[in-house]
Every structure is written in C-alpha cells, then in structure tokens.
Symmetry: C2
Subunit: 388 residues, 2 copies
C-alpha cells in the first residue's frame, strides 16, 4: 500500500447557474484542479465521477466519458450514483485504487445541474433518492423525511428549534468569506425561527438550497508526488462506507445514522485515529438536524449530546472543533453529485492553510469529510491529514 495525496483541488461557484450544463461546470472545476496540482492531464489514468440526477435534469446518463472529455482527459471514466453521496463513493473507490497501486494519478469529482428544472420538479427529482414504492408514492419528500428524524431526535433526547437555528446561523456565518458559497450573508437566530415552516419542526432556514456546481480533485500516489516534486501536503489516510435500509420505516430508530457510524469507524481505524484526534470537520448538513446526526455518527458527541453544540459555541469557528467552515450544504450550497468532492476540496484548503477560514484552525492537522445519501442509507467518511 502507498499513501494517497491530494495534489490539487478545483471548484466552481456554487449557486444558481441554470444556463450552464453539467459538463461546463465540471470542465471549470477540473481546470482548477489541474492548475492547482501542476499535474499534466495526460498523466491521468482514470476519472471517478459522481452525479445524481443528470437523467432527469439534462436527459444525460453515461456521464463518465462525457465528463472525461470535458476535463480534457481521454481515459477510462466511471460514473457513480449514490444520491447525495455520489462523489463520496466515487472518491472512495479512487482512494482504494491509488493506495493499492492500481493507478498513480486519478481525477475525481462530481457535478450537478439542478436549477434549470425549477423548484417543484427538482423536489420531485430529488425524491428518487428515497424508496419510490414505499416512501415517495405515500407523499414523502426529503424535508418531510428529515423532519421525522428531527421529531424522533427531539422526542428521544430533547432539543429545540432554537438549537437547530444556531446551526444555520453558524454555517451562514462561515460562508460569508467563502467566494464559492451560494449564500454569503449572516442570519440571526430570530430570522431562522420566524421563517416559514417547511415540515414541522424544520423551517426554511433549516434546509439547504438548490444549487448548481462542480468540484474536482487530482489524487496521486506518494511515489508520483515525490518523483514529480509536487507540493501535496494533504493525504487521505482513511476511507469508510456504510449502508442502511433505504426506507425510513425499515430502520430501528430514526434519530441515529448507523451507516455513517460504520463509515466513520472504518475510516478512523484505517487512519489509526479516534474522534478525539479530529481538529475540524465538513459534514453533510442537508438539513440542520443532519449536522446533529453527523456529529454523533462521527463520535464527536454521544447520542443526544450534539444538539446544543453550535449553540454552546463548540462547533463555531471559535470553538474547539469547528464544523462546516465552508458554510456547509446549508449556506455554501448542495449540488448533489458534487457535494462529497466539494467537502474534500474545502477540507484540503482548510488544512493547507489557504482557505478563507483557515485562520480559525491554524494548527489543524486532521480533518474529516462526512457525506450522506438519502436519509443516510449511504454514507462515506474520509480522513484527511497534513504531512503524512
């Protein structure tokens, strides 16, 4: 086994770009990654790419070769789809291929075009990440599903809408200096609490927006990095994946996410760390309650104890372990198939010290990225470390 380095990262602006195709977005993100990596395109041996709903948004499947061409890479290309964890699983397979010597240089990433559909059709399209027969046809949408999870949490452990509002406030604040973020303005707790309810107990500010965007990374082996004298200080030292029953009704308990627990356990074991070693995290806050569930799955908090983390200031930029310094899905945005890769891009920059919020964690060496699909029927966790 060899080490896996992140040689370069690239991102588009996350926001409303209904006029831009998926390929256009991915071309920009991969341009950025190649420029950052200083790795020639012809060295790339394969593309591992995540996309969720291209069939519905662009009448476009088979995006592997299409995106390889957009990135200027004529190499074998594979598209992964695991709902909102699509690029998380793509990166996981790429990490395994590099560490096992299957490849020295891989392009990874994801893209999603969503705003061209309009809100109603996008909500309908997003529902394909749930069980069509047993959830969607009964009227379930994702805001409703996460509202059920929030209700179960409140009933099981306590907590309030105000606790959730502090998560939204924190992530909006973090997004302000992030030039890639969709929402770059702070909000107040009162504003979040007064916003229209979308599914009790979740209001408008508890939900992430609909976003177009793309993210890309160049992964290389230690040997390639050394031979080519690359500056690639961040390594992926652990990867984990978990799975759960698809539909909420099949789960034992709605206020835990065992798929993410399993992914975290595996990733930590590979990296030889435990939760207490983690300095900073990007987690999948598609809804504010999802951030709470993520922090507990990552074992930063015991079940029932993460709900007050943002309110207590523990996960804010001035806290002991900042979470979602990028702004998270909540404020940076959530172009579904790009999100897992985007978290890795943000974490790489945070750890390298060239992120606008790096100053919040000047001594950080260990970061994690937590990416979830659907109501966490799929999850990946990656550990990133400096100077491994």
């Amino acid at each position: 086994m060899t080490g896996v380095r992140i040689a370069g990262v690239g991102l588009t602006h996350f926001g409303k770009h209904p006029e831009r195709t998926g390929r256009d977005l991915f071309a920009e993100a991969s341009d950025g990654a190649f420029a950052d990596a200083e790795v020639p395109r012809e060295d790339v041996e394969a593309l591992h790419y995540g996309n969720f709903m291209g069939e519905l948004a662009e009448h476009q499947g088979h995006q592997g070769p299409l995106m390889a061409e957009a990135a200027g890479v004529l190499a074998p290309a594979t598209r992964y789809e695991s709902a909102c964890a699509s690029s998380g699983v793509a990166i996981r397979q790429a990490v395994k291929d590099v560490r096992n010597g299957e490849a020295d240089v891989l392009l990874v990433g994801g893209a999603e075009r969503m705003n061209n559909l309009g809100t109603a059709k996008t909500t309908e399209a997003l529902a394909i990440a749930a069980d069509d027969l047993y959830e969607v046809r009964a009227g379930m949408t994702f805001p409703g599903a996460y509202a059920l999870m929030a209700q179960a949490y409140f009933e099981g452990y306590g907590g309030s809408r105000e606790d959730l509002a502090h998560i939204a406030v924190k992530n909006h604040e973090n997004a302000v200096p992030n030039e890639h973020a969709q929402f770059r303005k702070g909000i107040e707790v009162e504003q979040a609490l007064d916003a229209p309810m979308i599914a009790e107990p979740l209001g408008l500010f508890d939900a992430c927006p609909i976003t177009d965007g793309a993210a890309a990374l160049v992964l290389v082996s230690d040997e390639y990095a050394e031979e080519n004298d690359l500056s690639a200080p961040v390594s992926v030292t652990g990867t984990g994946q978990g799975g759960d029953r698809m539909a909420l009704q099949g789960r034992e308990y709605l206020a835990r996410t065992p798929a993410a627990e399993e992914a975290a356990e595996e990733a930590y074991a590979e990296a030889g760390i435990d939760a207490s070693d983690v300095d900073v995290a990007e987690v999948h806050d598609c809804f504010t309650i999802a951030e709470v569930l993520a922090l507990e799955a990552l074992d930063f908090y015991a079940p029932g104890e993460a709900i007050g983390a943002a309110r207590r200031g523990e996960t804010t930029r001035d806290g002991d372990r900042p979470v979602n310094l990028s702004g998270g899905l909540k404020a940076k945005g959530h172009p579904v198939g790009a999100t897992g890769a985007s978290q890795m891009v943000e974490m790489t920059r945070i750890l390298r010290g060239d992120h606008p919020n790096s100053d919040a964690v000047p001594d950080a060496n260990v970061g994690v990225a937590h990416n979830a699909g659907g109501t966490v029927a799929s999850a990946t966790v990656h550990v990133l470390e400096v100077g491994q």
Copy 2:
C-alpha cells in the same frame, strides 16, 4: 494480491416482465447466486451494482442500498452507471477490491426494468447513453448510431448485410437451449434479410430486443474459498477498462472501438495471455455489427476480417472459438444494467461445464466477457479462467 474466484452465479429469465420491479428481479438473481455459491449472506462485505435507467423507468435512483436490501445483504452498496457497461464497471471495481485485499466476499450484479415504459419511451430513455446536446437533439438514436458504424465498416473494409445476418442466425441458434433467453427460436438468413429495415443497413434482426432482467455473482478471495472449502473453479484473472469520446463525431474513425481495444489489452496483460489463448467469448452484440467490432477489438481478428467470421462458421458453436454461446444480447436479451454481469454468469457456467452449451467447448479453460457502453465510449473486458 490474491486471486479472485467466482463462487456463485444467478440469473432471472431475460424477457418481458413489465410487472416486475428492478428490486424483485435483483432479489431473484441474487438468491440464485447465494444458493449456487453456498456463501452466507452475512459474509458479504459490500454490493457493487450496475443499473442504467432506473431514474426514467422506475423513478428510482440510489439503487445501491435498495438492491442490497432486496438481496438480503445489509452492507455498504454502490451503484455504477456506465450505460450498457454499467455492471461491467461495477464488477471491475469489485475485482480490484478483492484482489487487493479490500474485501473477501462481494456481491456484484445488475438489473434493468425496461418493458414497462413501452418501446417509444424506452428508445428515448436509451438515448441518454449518447450525447444529449450534440447527438440526441440532432435526432440520433442508437439504431442510427450503429448503422453509421456499420456503413463506415462496409465502406472501409467491405462486408454485407448477409454477413451480419449470419451473426443473428448464430446467436438465435445458441439461445435455443438457454432457459434464460428471451428468444429461443432459430431464424434463417433469408428471414433476417427480409425483415423490416430499422436504419440502413441494419434490419430488425440486427438489433437486440428490449429486455427486463437481472444477474448476480458472488466474488470471493482465494483464501476465503479455500478456508470455506468452496467449489469455485472459475477465477477472474484480468480486468480492463477503456474510454473514448462520447459522441461519434468526436471519433477518428467509426469502424473501430479503441476503448474496447484498450480494455482487452489491459485485461490480457493482467491475465498474462493473448488473444490466441482465448477459447470462448461473450461479447456485446447490441447490434450485429457490434459483434464484428468486438471481435476485432479483442484482437481475435485484424481490422476488417471479423465480418465474415460467423458466415465462415468460425464463431458458431461448432467453430474454433464460439462467440455468444448464451445467445448474446441479440437473442438472450439486453436488460442494460444487467448485461455485463450476465455475460460473466454465462461464461462462468460455460467454463464450469454446467451451461446448456458447454458441450460446444468441452476443453475450454479461458473465456472473455466484453461489455460496452453507448457507442463504445465505455468498455470493460474480463478474462475468466478455470483452475487458476
């Protein structure tokens, strides 16, 4: 690195099953694979699953966890989509994970539900495997695309509709004893030539049908097979993948498939064989001309020389190297996301000697499976060997 064994295989009937869901089909195929393997479900560490058009046919994405549940496996699950090579790429990643010690037991496979859409909507859905902006919106469908490839072949190398008809006749004949096949009746050359033209020079009998079906395999490491005293005589000794530009207009030449050439070269190199060592092959004959292109990509024939192979009897069941003893996509059927896995299932049974057409190749030790996506913008090739 360890060896990768095929411990068990399962298939549904391939045909028109518009009333059956994808999950129902995959449950049956995986039931068969587990029964054949005598491997307990709880030993499975992950599912690698291929599906192409679930979003359009069943309003269902995120099929990884859904299919794991259908298969009775609560393990991390990943869905791969690479058009008609969806399960080919899924199996490739699984093979790499087993040989590199990432897992000892994996479930792999694919499923596709198509007939519930009706022919017109299915043709429209299939077009998402082509470039929506530059091919589909100009009116291109897959019969038209392969007709262009056939025209280029005829102009470059010669050949006739009668040569192609012999391929259809051969594959229909092979399907007769195959209980999983969609069409189990022989046809005559005249019948194929007299059939309605669908896109000059391809007639109705040059095209594969629209098919519902699923296929599954249990892959295990050598160590697991030995420790558990499994009868698993067939190993995957090579895997290759290639990529090409998505749209036909981007290609240098339409009558070759460099993505498949690249995949074959890689798979042969890994297995330490060359084309002359291959005893029997399952190739991606979505159209008769595609079988010709496949035989040349696999280096069984020089460019321009495979066109007469079936007519000369070289690839028939009595020939030197039988091709598509299953009946191929042409007569066995082509449930898109299941096809790559189905080829591996058929080849495993052919090599084990328990396929209805095994008697055509009683001494076969080396088989290949060639799976292609779109107009071969994606391709995988796997080498299967007995007693490695």
